[in-house]
Amino acid sequence: MEKFAEEICAIPGGEGIRLCIQCGTCTASCPNANRMDHTPRELIAMARAGMREEVLSSNSMWLCLSCYLCTVRCPRGIKQTDLMHVLECLAVRHRLSNVRTRTPVMHRSFTDFVYSIGSVPEIGFMTWFYLLTNPLRALRMIPLALSLLKHGRMSVKARRLRPEGERQLRTILERAQLLGGMS
């Protein structure tokens, strides 16, 4: 097997690429396949052919909605949605994340909050996301934000864990990072 395919198979959820029969059920089920550089079926074929750069730098997995339609329909039982997440993690690890979609930055901004305080305040997360992408685009969000505020749906204050809980979470996550990712 190609080295790249081996790398994917070593991560939980990635091993399914061995089983693919290229029937295309995943692509036919995907709401976003037509916007992807390579359809889900193509992505597996390319991964197995060792096309590392092309796969990891594509926008495909970043347009995955995690709707799991492909996963429940795959006749080979491949966890296609999990596979997309595996490819996203590998793209992040190898610094190849696609730059034409803002999804990688969105995921990063969200995760920064999870790992730092253990909860995700919507307003903080959105502000962080727009600062990292295009602060001017945030202007478009003002009417929505005002409407949420008016309906009592926007809290400025973040939920915090008790200090000992926050410390425990941080210790666990630091250890996880020392253990070096999945593979």
């Binding site: 429940v72 993690c89 803002r102 995700v120 009592g152 210790t171 996880a176 253990l179």
Partner: protein, 290 residues
């Protein structure tokens, strides 16, 4: 009395879906169910964090499972994203011994152990299968007058196949709506995606998906939609105006959490259900039952 460990998730506890938490608590009380908030729970990580570093995301999620296991109660969440992430952590820990060893080691650093016995449930599952439609029907005080409701499941409450309902043609929410005296309208896209978190990074794409859903619900005669997920509610309700603008449409479909509709049928005060928090006001549609 039934007791559950309760995992509200970030949106329902402190975010834009506070009405979900409030209404869930109110109807649970009416049904002799106690939702005991899991002490010091942390964000499940949701889908975004599984796309940055898998191991770290599994560990964040596993901490909650370890806390719930100590509590000895089923862990119930009203959020479909929390549900899928926590369930997936459970099944992956069983399936992959290598992953399990690393997660155990990380948890041990925080003086926690997890023996993989916590059971993760969605609130819809608890209502449909533990409490049951008959018991829910027996508490109905207000006539919903055959209000036409589109039952919207979205994706992650039924997929990947976790067992309590069909992954593509689910029925539990339809039955629940009917047990309240409302009419569940046909809704061919009831288990299709609302765009999820891509509403933030790829808005145009997500608006297209939301448009299809609103169109499907509306063309089948629905007067309102009920959802079982904070993000689905936000996308369909908060972004409905943007869909109207982009597609030159005229939708005016209130989007309620299923717990809010149950609360209305039970005769619970609308403030206690957070109905005023809906952007598309349900007042007119519910006028005949309030």
């Amino acid at each position: 009395m039934r007791y559950y460990a309760y995992f509200p998730g970030c949106s329902a506890s402190h975010g834009s879906a506070k009405a979900y938490d409030r209404s869930a608590q109110a109807v649970a009380k009416a049904l002799d169910v106690e939702l005991i908030e899991l002490e010091d729970w942390n964000c499940c990580g949701s889908t975004p964090s599984t796309s940055v570093d898998e191991l770290t995301s599994f560990c964040a999620s596993a901490r909650n499972l370890a806390l719930a296991e100590k509590r000895g109660l089923d862990l119930v969440t009203p959020c479909s994203a929390c549900y899928v992430i926590l369930s997936r952590t459970n099944s992956s820990l069983k399936e992959y011994p290598g992953l399990r060893a690393k997660v155990d080691e990380a948890l041990a650093a925080g003086d926690l152990e997890y023996h993989r016995t916590a059971r993760v449930r969605h609130l819809l599952d608890v209502f449909a299968n533990d409490i049951g439609y008959d018991e829910i029907a027996s508490k109905v005080k207000r006539d919903l007058g055959r209000l036409k409701v589109a039952p919207y499941y979205g994706c992650q409450v039924v997929r990947p196949q976790l067992g309590f309902d069909h992954p593509e043609s689910p029925q539990s929410l339809d039955r629940l709506v009917e047990s309240l005296g409302a009419k569940a309208t046909p809704f061919p896209l009831k288990a299709r995606c609302c765009g999820g978190s891509l509403i933030i990074s790829e808005e145009d794409l997500a608006l297209g998906l939301i448009h299809k859903l609103l169109d499907s619900a509306s063309s089948n005669g629905a007067e309102c939609i009920v959802t079982v997920c904070p993000l689905c509610q936000t996308n369909l309700d908060v972004y409905q105006g943007r869909v109207n603008k982009k597609f030159k449409a005229n939708f005016n479909l209130p989007v309620l959490f299923f717990t809010q509709l149950i609360g209305v049928a039970f005769g619970i005060d609308s403030r206690a259900l957070g109905l005023e928090k809906c952007i598309v006001s349900p007042e007119e549609v519910l006028a005949r039952c309030l």
